[in-house]
């Protein structure tokens, strides 16, 4: 029965990461992962939940996004001063960000070639590399 698939997928995803499957978490997991790769702020997800008839407080959305990130379900993307995006794609990749709207697009890791690593600050090791292409809507739509 295909209709039950999304539910068990969401449930499995939570269980796999040791998160108790509450009504709110199940709903948020579905909103996040049922529609491909997404970049959402807490506020956007909260609005989506409301639109979908799911009652969740904004505080719970924040807490849940942080838990999901800590559990490895999501990745936090910081490209603008006062706003955090949560990315459902946790595999290695980069981002293009459209100014000033803040829209995000994925850039496959393979599309950006980084030379041999530059010297790191002493006593540190590399955890991750983020490449952000900051783009603007071009005045000339033909170019």
């Amino acid at each position: 029965m295909i209709g039950t698939r999304p539910f068990s997928q969401a449930l499995d995803r939570l269980k796999r990461h040791g998160l108790r499957p509450t009504r709110q978490r199940l709903a948020l997991v579905k909103l996040l992962f049922d529609r491909g790769d997404r970049h959402l702020t807490a506020d956007q997800l909260h609005a989506e939940a409301a639109a979908a008839g799911v009652r969740v407080s904004l505080a719970t959305v924040y807490n849940t996004l942080n838990q999901f990130t800590a559990a490895g379900l999501l990745r936090e993307v910081v490209v603008e001063a006062g706003r955090s995006y949560f990315d459902t794609n946790t595999s290695e990749h980069h981002h293009a960000m459209v100014e000033p709207t803040g829209e995000l697009f994925d850039i496959p890791a393979g599309d950006v070639r980084l030379s041999a690593l530059p010297p790191l600050p002493p006593g540190t090791k590399l955890r991750r590399v983020d490449v952000i292409l900051r783009v603007v809507k071009s005045q000339d739509p033909a170019s």
Copy 2:
């Protein structure tokens, strides 16, 4: 007379960018540029000013940093969710950021080679590329 150099340098820098040289701006320019490349938050600069005996309000520090950035004297760097750094190095370069302290180090642009540009979102043109190496203090200081 060498003693007057820093003063006229600060004054020139402001004049060159069409900024009226007030007592506060002169003091902030000196704090920012007399000590090599720096990455500072508004709060840090405000604290430095206070320590140096310069009376400036935090609001003025924020406004001044934004004006300096708009005038091209500084560059804003966003690497952490709720905090903006201002970089006195406005030439092309990248950053290494130490977690979780937030310390920033410059990476020369030449140390990172980017392949041919990946396809950009349609109707946009590239404004800037930011590369952020996220590093952690290594447990093993010898490595």
